[in-house]
């Protein structure tokens, strides 16, 4: 079942080592079939070089394994919360990419400091509050999703405009219009974290770009007036 989606999820997972986003097995990608409400996700702790499409695990939105011989990613419950609450997203990625994790461990957001950021993320990439003891002890992975969703709601952030987040003391989750696009956003987030880290060392004051420049760049690439690329031909 869902052979096409399994192939896409496999390919998206294999982009992680290709773009130097993972050490060992530290990352996972999933995709969703919204019509059937089924999610395809990487198995837990399997090496990228050995993974096949048939290893991908199918789960429903409650986390029940529908098909697959292997355990799904230990982060599956987090993915499911995001799919349930962010209705437009069709792919999710979690990594421990080092520049993003540096910000997550420092507990600070990635400020929207330049056009590289603004081409993909329409504002700061938020960091979640630290999770409480109760959230960690019980249903940790589900609660990780809940704290992400709450961060977006409390700050009135549209997850379609800012397709990524840093979980405090942990690392980034990104999402997108399909599994490959979610990986694309993960790579951009990592690159932006690297660049903005160095900008902050050079000049910690007033690092954010003007709103009008952010509007220009984000809308040049997104929405009905976009004119970047070949889509408006």
């Amino acid at each position: 079942m869902l052979e096409d989606l399994k192939e896409k999820v496999l390919e998206a997972n294999l982009m992680l080592p290709k773009y130097h986003m993972v050490t060992f097995t530290w990352g996972n990608v999933s995709g969703i079939d919204r019509s059937q409400s089924l999610v395809v996700i990487k198995p837990s702790g399997v090496e990228y070089t050995k993974m096949k499409a048939s290893d991908m695990v199918v789960v429903d939105l409650n986390g029940k394994v529908i098909e697959g011989d292997l355990n799904p990613s230990s982060d599956t419950a987090t993915h499911l919360v995001l799919y349930r609450n962010f209705p437009d997203i069709l792919g999710i990625v979690h990594t421990h990419s080092p520049w993003a994790v540096s910000f997550a461990q420092a507990g600070i957001c990635i400020p929207a400091a330049g056009t590289t950021h603004g081409d993909y993320f329409y504002g700061d990439i938020p960091v979640t509050p630290k999770m409480t003891k109760d959230e960690i002890v019980t249903d940790y992975e589900k609660q990780t999703g809940d704290v992400i969703v709450r961060t977006f709601k409390d700050n009135s952030i549209n997850p379609n405009d800012i397709p990524g987040v840093l979980v405090n003391d942990h690392g980034p989750f990104t999402w997108g219009t399909d599994p490959k696009n979610a990986v694309h956003n993960a790579v951009v987030l990592e690159e932006v974290a690297k660049i903005t880290y160095h900008s902050l060392q050079l000049n910690p004051h007033n690092i954010r770009m003007d709103q009008v420049l952010l509007d220009k760049h984000f809308k040049r690439k997104h929405g009905k007036n976009a004119y970047y690329g070949q889509n408006n031909k």
Copy 2:
């Protein structure tokens, strides 16, 4: 038409991934035929691995597409301003190379701190002032070129002596005596940004080299008394 120049512009574009200057499609190179006043430029948002010489787009100096099935780079209007105002340059590159962007986001120039810099850039690599709301909202890409030209004029900088600039909160543009030489200068600018970033962390005081050392190194490689390489044989 312009098959030779298309081939050269393609080759120069392919140097960008080879020298690790681009993530995804974030960069573009153009070249100009001064005798016909026609510019050849990379199409917008096309992957480097799939690009062919025949994909290159020919535009005139007003931005009218003369030949090509694809949209030209969204930065085309910036290139055209530079070609119109800097009469000696024959190739232009724009990238989001990370060290250069770190300085651009910080809003500071790259100071001429050592001979690696002085061998190619005869003084600080300037950063433009932030663009105003009006400049961003109307004809943004053209105005980006205008702010570059104004930065050179207002500071009496000869673009042949300092073949590059940082657009504030955005990234670098470089140029040169042909498309490949413009990429060469882009790679040097990125390397110099990396080195000088670390020098500034080690010792932020008096980072600039003496003018006499800058004169020596720039003129060892440029102008009628140059003696570097095999050109004076």
Copy 3:
């Protein structure tokens, strides 16, 4: 003798250049056969590209060469102290990997700042005190092992929970359940050092993660209630 272990020790040594952990010959891996109390270790100063399983040297726990034509690693005496004092470990690695050495030279531990760290190391990765003149002059390599063991005892650290250390002004040693696992831990230590270095530059205050989050992540992967990977199938 010990052909299987020699092959494993060779393979683990070859992981060091593969994971960019060594420059030239700066690193060594050993493994132990506990039933025979014999250690197999890399020869001293031999290039990785030329090493064969038959070059591996067999020594007893007192350092006597039992088999092999080459000198064993100059760090052999350190390995032996660790095998004698940490009874559960079956493989040891020493490298000069640059991020770990940066912390060692600075004389500071790597704080447990996030889940990447907590998945493998159950607390700060300690740095030893500086060695005294007497320790350096006499039996230096053995004394290096002694100062590691004393660091763990004095701070009541279980070497099975924190499988690595920074020797002050020198570099990291890691260990594990076999030679390959010891290299795995060396790679994680280096990655964690890189990430946490940058977090400390972004935010030097309160960098440590909460104990409850550390408990959660370490125990998700280790011990009888672990549920990461495919082991609990």
Copy 4:
């Protein structure tokens, strides 16, 4: 003439791109035949991928080209001063490797902060004073050599014990017992610069290792009591 030495100098030059020590043509290696007082050096500004042994240039110790169709490296006069004043060295390297240049531009030495450094350099790697206007204007490349020699004499440094230097606002020169060994020392200097840069950011106080540890490590690898590697078999 000197075919063997030309081959060795070519091979040593090709190690520079292999070890990521050069961008474009920014580096040169030479070797000397002491019996004939002839030096073989890389030609100026030639790409590494196209260089052949027959392109190497033979010069005498006064800089007169004895054999070769190409201009010798523009840094030849610096090499010759070093060969004339440091009688034991048989190979010299100059690069613009980025971490070493970061220190050179900052005008600070690389302190002997740990054993990685102490295994190869018996003390701080010095930085020269800034060159005066007179030194830069007249015989610049020869004067560069003179300022290096003076730095070693004025500070009573033995060039056999510390086989490298940072020329202020410029970059590193290293030397060794043959051209390949000189490149080896260049790679170590770059690695040590990278590591110690980060140590200085983590802890700028008392970064130097104790003298007794420096003695131990340097003498473990050098001199009549060395016991590292296979040389004492």
